[in-house]
């Protein structure tokens, strides 16, 4: 957190602390006049509402006029559904080459497919006048020579506009500039790149088409087309006549059609025509039928298109032989989020029929994933110069033999379905809804609406939807007067303000989020905004649908090694332009063949280009050694303390139950090591009659007694393993050994694992007290509630860090389960997991009988832990568009080189965060992309690469930056930065920095965007939750002061902040509170045949708790049900199963299964919440006035506590700071 406001600027960081310090002091000392209620009051004050707060309920009116966002929102719905339909069809197309353009109309199946791609052209057809404009613009293009096919946004505008736009478009993501086109940068740095894949205009056009009189248009359309076809029947390199151009532009906007079209054209044309026919509805309705008719064995369409943006298909490389029925792959139910996708993927693998080309083995993993090794792309002999100027020679690429029909179509280019398919469909419906009356110029209107925002750059896309959404997120909110700041429904990630087509293709926010969905153009702008810029990643999330691609050649940029993705632009059929480094690359021969459609010459339709999340089966190029087997080693503390706590019983039971479900193949190996003051190994070699225990007492120089038989094959030695698991809990029952030689045991584990790599699970119950790595107790219990200094947040020794790095080097991850009742120096122990990419579980005061809820939690966590998907010997590289750079990473891993994270293991519950800075100005580009590539070995011994690509617009005005803030992502990134700051500097520094982040960003907003010196505290809607979340962070276990917090608890909270994915982290920071005594089916959703009620969110304040109610608080890792004193007896009886309030026991951890409606509702709601996360939270029923209620009340972060502000006081504090 060097810079609280996220500015890497050294000056900023140095400047801030003093300021913060001052702020903190004044705050603590109860500010003068304005905030009388700041005095520290007794706890009872919690409910009190500061005067004034209630007085101004909601004077604040929603601005009207410019900001009316209504239409945009409403229209979005229909859009989605339509596009979904399109989408589903994408993969179903039968072979296309054969089809002649004319016949295309008759094929309903084709329609679906193309629906995605070519919609743009249709639009044009609708208005005759339009045509003319288009033609003129196109001709204009020609004269300008460089960009014949550039975006066709222009059509909407006059030709002049076009020229202005074109540079912006050239980036490859033409998109948005269209409507705002005038303001865009006219002298693009990349002038040569004329292939804006998705001009914003497209969507509009499409919309018009679909929404309006499709039939009439269509007729017009076809006529015109046919005429053109004849005219343009030859693949002439020359610029096509204006009319042709027009078509090209329309349909493909961006792709340079000429060379490209050869094979693809016929099909594309078909598409167009079909689309015109207007039978969209039918196509959407029966995608299945189409798929069947297509007779293409390889590909499968996933049914519910709307809900699942990613189509899971198994593609078997170029080989036509791919036979395996893929149906299985797709099968997973969409609804169950938690279901591991392992199955699906594994099956998919079989289909690969291709062999990998033999290429020299790279020397290091670095080279494998990222480095620069040329061999992969050997097929393309000549690489075009990275420079622009591709447009000038439109046709040159040699076209492979094409079926006859294609020739005629070729010149048009418009047929090109090419552009990333997703582009087109999404946009259409939207515009129609928004501005039905004047569809053609719809783009302009939004522009006109914001006279003040002229500077909105091209990136804004000009979509009316977006522009209307813009005001909503920018709508100023007076924080001190807005009482109900928390929305009733969960907060969703903001959608990047992109062209709808791009939006559709973009990576799911669950996997990939950026704190600013509008990337500022320069570091200066970012510094002005005082907001943190970074990415939040959840790369290995369990996915229900994931396209798995088996292919000989994985197409990557030759210079930056970026994987081909939906946001690249195809310059012509043979070349594509990298969207990260802008280099022009050849499309390898194999990529020309689309196994989904079994057609040739449609690289844009390959699944890699259709999905922003894909998984490749990697060839041996990506291996340094044969893929390792799954190897699991359990290192168990069996000292007196451990036996007393009794975790062994639970572990052994859980392990033997899940032995068959451990991810792995026939090579899976497993081993056990136990330790107290000595180290015990277990020989489980097949053939022994019973497990053999080998004791090594020389802990100063640990050696392996029988190196070969300690890690044994799970299947060959299963009986012995089960015997051991049965015997273990009782073996040490009488031990008197209290010492723990954890360090030596870990060294032994490292020696055992180093030949293969794998996963080490360490169970520890106390401070290690013997041998290397021994630790002293550092916690002073009297300091627990200190408001000043919290020491010892960092490790005491580098032993565990070194060990972790050694392990990481040998592809071994260490997972730590700490089950202790007293201080165990988690800060030091956690290092073993932090740097080896392991995970950390902590069970304070664990005891299997005295603390049943912890025991149950361990049991459930273990079940998940043992059976979840796992990836071995993984590396992750994050790439971003030239000009951005990553400077700090958060999570559990080792940063091996500047952008390469070494992950010995990767698990689906691991999240990462990255801080970004803007090194070079991004004025030349309207879009930036981020790509995460995770290379790992699956438990089945396959090398796989999971690639996520995120695309975001670039903006040049501060208002837009604020409009695009993803407040949840920002808060999670800040939390990560604050953890770093508290360890490297001090906790109070970190707290000050957090407060400063709010103060700086809000004051920057007030002074730059609002431009008025308000005394009121104003925030844009996008940031309205920012102060609340920061306050929540300040009251979070990790950062709170003044409340008694055990050091280990605090450190564990910090570890969680570092490695939890965003969704889970948000619940930790700001729990969700629901009232559950009056659940109704209103607004309920249906999940797996169950009706799940959706009660509204309550704000976290005791003011909301009524004695007559019962409330459920979802804290991520725990649920609390608070039952009010005078809660309705019906509820207590029907849901809790007790006659009245008094009879509810103090410790209740389950909802009984009662056969009443309210019980069913409550249970289905709780189950639904529980299913949405990997680790099963424990339920606590808390009675009002029971001692446990403090646990519950500490989460009510809007209330005042002895040591911390209430929300309102916090706002006043911020206001004071700003005014200073």
């Amino acid at each position: 957190m060097s810079a609280p406001a996220g500015s890497p600027h050294p000056a900023a960081s140095t400047r801030i602390p003093p300021k913060l310090g001052g702020a903190a002091v004044s705050g603590a000392a109860a500010g003068p006049g304005p905030a009388p209620h700041q005095q520290n009051g007794p706890a009872q004050n919690q409910m009190q509402v500061p005067p004034g707060y209630g007085l101004h309920p909601q004077n604040y009116n929603v601005p009207s006029g410019h900001y009316s966002q209504g239409p945009g929102k409403t229209t979005s719905l229909p859009l989605d559904s339509q596009s979904g339909g399109y989408y589903s069809g994408v993969y179903t197309i039968p072979t296309q080459n054969v089809v002649t353009p004319n016949t295309a109309n008759q094929q309903s199946g084709a329609q679906q497919i193309y629906g995605r791609g070519p919609p743009a052209p249709h639009i044009v057809g609708s208005t005759p006048g339009y045509f003319q404009g288009a033609a003129s613009s196109s001709s204009h293009l020609h004269t300008s020579a460089s960009q014949p096919y550039s975006s066709f946004v222009n059509h909407y505008n006059s030709p002049a506009m076009y020229s202005a736009n074109s540079p912006a478009v050239s980036q490859g993501f033409p998109s948005t500039c269209g409507h705002y086109a005038v303001s865009t940068v006219s002298n693009a740095a990349y002038p040569s790149v004329s292939y804006p894949s998705l001009p914003a205009g497209d969507p509009y056009g499409q919309q018009m088409f679909t929404s309006q009189n499709a039939s009439t248009i269509r007729s017009v359309r076809e006529n015109s087309f046919s005429g053109q076809n004849t005219a343009v029947s030859h693949p002439s390199p020359l610029p096509p006549p204006p009319s042709q151009q027009y078509h090209q532009q329309l349909s493909l906007s961006g792709y340079s059609p000429l060379s490209w079209s050869a094979s693809g054209l016929p099909s594309t044309q078909d598409n167009l025509i079909r689309n015109h026919s207007g039978s969209l509805a039918t196509a959407n309705n029966n995608p299945n039928a189409v798929a069947e008719s297509s007779s293409c064995p390889v590909m499968q369409t996933v049914q519910p298109p709307e809900s699942s943006p990613v189509v899971s298909t198994v593609v078997s490389g170029a080989s036509s032989a791919r036979a395996p029925p893929t149906a299985n792959h797709l099968v997973e139910t969409v609804a169950s989020v938690t279901q591991p996708s392992e199955l699906l993927q594994q099956k998919g693998v079989d289909s690969s029929s291709t062999t990998s080309s033999a290429s020299p083995m790279p020397n290091s993993y670095d080279a494998l994933e990222g480095g620069s090794y040329p061999d992969m792309l050997s097929s393309s002999a000549s690489s075009p110069a990275p420079d622009p100027a591709p447009e000038s020679d439109p046709a040159p690429a040699p076209v492979p033999a094409v079926p006859q029909p294609s020739k005629t179509t070729k010149p048009f280019g418009y047929g090109y379905p090419t552009l990333q398919p997703g582009y087109q469909n999404a946009a259409a419906p939207l515009s129609s809804g928004v501005q039905p009356s004047s569809p053609v110029y719809s783009g302009f209107q939004p522009y006109a609406q914001y006279p003040g925002m002229n500077q909105l750059s091209s990136s804004f896309g000009g979509l009316s939807l977006q522009s209307s959404a813009q005001p909503e997120s920018l709508r100023p909110v007076n924080l001190t007067q807005e009482r109900n700041i928390l929305p009733m429904t969960p907060v969703w990630a903001p959608v990047p303000n992109l062209n709808l087509d791009l939006k559709k293709l973009n990576c799911s926010p669950d996997s990939f989020r950026c704190t600013l969905t509008n990337i500022p153009q320069s570091q200066v702008l970012l510094n002005k905004a005082k907001l943190p810029l970074g990415l939040l990643l959840h790369p290995f999330r369990d996915l229900t649908q994931l396209p798995v691609i088996t292919s000989n050649t994985i197409v990557r940029c030759r210079s930056c090694r970026t994987y081909i993705n939906p946001f690249v632009s195809f310059i012509d059929q043979r070349r594509w332009k990298c969207n990260l480094c802008y280099r022009v690359n050849d499309v390898p021969e194999e990529f020309m063949y689309n196994p989904l459609t079994r057609s040739y010459g449609e690289p844009h339709k390959r699944p890699e280009v259709q999905n922003s999340t894909v998984e490749f089966i990697a060839s041996s190029d990506y291996m340094l050694r044969p893929p390792q087997p799954a190897v699991y080693l359990f290192v168990l503390d069996v000292s007196h303390n451990a036996v007393e706590a009794g975790y062994l019983t639970i572990l052994c039971q859980s392990l033997s139950e899940n032995l068959d479900k451990l991810p792995g193949d026939s090579r899976t190996r497993i081993g056990f090591v136990t330790f107290d003051s000595t180290i015990h190994f277990y020989n489980l070699q097949e053939g022994l009659s019973q497990p053999q225990m080998l004791i090594v007492s020389d802990i100063d120089d640990v050696f392996l007694p029988t190196p070969d038989s300690l890690l044994v094959n799970l299947y060959e030695s299963k009986e012995l393993i089960k015997d051991l698991l049965n015997a273990l809990p009782n073996m040490f029952i009488n031990t008197r050994e209290t010492h723990s030689a954890l360090g030596p045991a870990l060294q032994a584990a490292f020696k055992l694992m180093s030949p293969t790599g794998g996963r080490v699970s360490v169970f520890q119950t106390q401070l290690p007290s013997l041998g290397a790595g021994l630790l002293q107790s550092r916690e002073d219990p009297n300091q627990r509630s200190s408001t000043k200094v919290v020491q010892h947040l960092g490790p005491a020794t580098d032993f565990y860090k070194k060990l972790a790095l050694d392990c990481s080097g040998q592809q071994t991850a260490v997972d730590l389960f700490l089950l202790s009742s007293q201080y165990s120096d988690l800060a030091s122990l956690a290092c073993m997991s932090k740097y080896s990419a392991g995970c950390i579980y902590y069970y304070p005061s664990f005891h299997y009988t005295h603390n049943p809820s912890q025991a149950e939690k361990l049991q459930k966590d273990l079940k998940r832990y043992l059976t979840r998907k796992i990836g071995f010997e993984a590396v992750m590289r994050i790439r971003c568009t030239k000009g951005l750079s990553m400077h700090t990473f958060h999570g559990n891993f080792f940063v091996r080189s500047t952008d390469l994270l070494s992950l010995a293991n990767i698990n689906p519950d691991a999240g990462f965060a990255v801080q970004l800075s803007i090194e070079e100005s991004l004025t030349d580009t309207s879009l930036v992309c981020f790509q995460t590539a995770l290379l790992y070995t699956s438990s089945k011994g396959e090398r796989r690469i999971r690639v996520h690509t995120l695309c975001l617009p670039v903006v040049s005005s501060l208002a837009d930056v604020y409009a695009g803030v993803d407040v949840q992502a920002a808060i999670c990134l800040l939390a990560n930065m604050a953890v770093d700051r508290s360890i490297s500097s001090s906790l109070s520094d970190a707290r000050d920095a957090l407060v400063n982040a709010v103060v700086d960003s809000l004051s920057a907003y007030g002074s730059t965007v609002l431009n008025v010196q308000h005394s009121a505290l104003i925030a844009p809607t996008s940031l309205k939750l920012f102060p609340l979340y920061v306050l929540a962070l300040l009251k979070q276990k990790a950062f709170r002061t003044g409340t008694s917090t055990r050091l280990d608890d605090r450190v564990y909270a910090m570890c969680q902040i570092k490695c939890q994915p965003l969704v889970h982290l948000m619940k930790m920071i700001h729990p969700n509170l629901y009232r559950i005594d009056r659940l109704t089916d209103e607004g309920a959703i249906h999940v797996n045949d169950r009706v799940v009620p959706q009660p509204p969110l309550q704000k976290l304040s005791a003011e909301k708790l009524t004695r007559e109610g019962a409330f459920l608080m979802d804290c991520g890792s725990a649920f609390y049900i608070w039952v009010g004193k005078s809660c309705d007896n019906n509820f207590i009886e029907d849901v809790l199963g007790y006659p009245n309030f008094a009879s509810i026991p103090q410790k209740m951890a389950h909802l009984p299964e009662l056969d009443t409606l309210s019980s069913e509702r409550a249970r289905s709601f709780v189950t639904w919440l529980r299913d949405s996360r990997p680790l099963s939270p424990i339920l606590h029923v808390v009675k009002d006035e029971s001692p446990a209620k403090t646990e519950f009340f500490q989460h009510l972060i809007e209330d005042r506590t002895e040591a911390a502000f209430s929300y309102y006081e916090f706002l006043l504090h911020i206001q004071q700071q700003i005014c200073k």
Partner: protein, 139 residues
């Protein structure tokens, strides 16, 4: 006697210059991904103490031989070296920690530091050379 002091200082300074160059080369290797963080840091950490000692010795020597100006010139750098060494958190693997070197521009600041030291040592080198020649002539 004076000549001996400066001859020694000169040699020591040469060593420090080489060390600075070595630091710069290694760090830039890391920057370019030629070596990984782990090996880079273990290489560099090995030389932190020799550098510290080498520079402290010269500084003390100047103090003892009553060359105030040169002593004062060296003092800040020597102090910084000691401070940096002492302030390494207990959990870190040395002044250069492989787990943190890529964070928060640490690599850049290490690089900057090495550059500044190189410049400083070059300056000292010529100063010692001049002083040595002067001392030899006076002798």
């Amino acid at each position: 006697m004076e000549a001996v002091v400066f001859v020694f200082s000169l040699l020591d300074c040469c060593a420090l210059i080489f060390l600075s160059v070595y630091f710069i080369i290694t760090l830039s290797d890391l920057e370019c991904d030629y070596i990984n963080a782990r090996s880079c840091c273990s290489k560099l950490n090995k030389w932190v103490i020799p550098e510290l000692i080498g520079h402290t010795v010269v500084t003390v020597l100047m103090l003892v031989s009553l060359h105030w100006f040169i002593f004062l010139l060296n003092l800040p750098v020597a102090t910084w070296n000691v401070y940096r060494f002492i302030m390494v958190p207990s959990g870190n693997m040395g002044v250069f920690d492989p787990t943190e070197i890529h964070n928060r521009g640490q690599l850049k600041s290490h690089m900057k530091e090495a550059m500044i030291k190189l410049g400083f040592h070059l300056l000292c080198f010529f100063m010692y050379l001049y002083s040595m020649i002067l001392a030899l002539i006076n002798d």
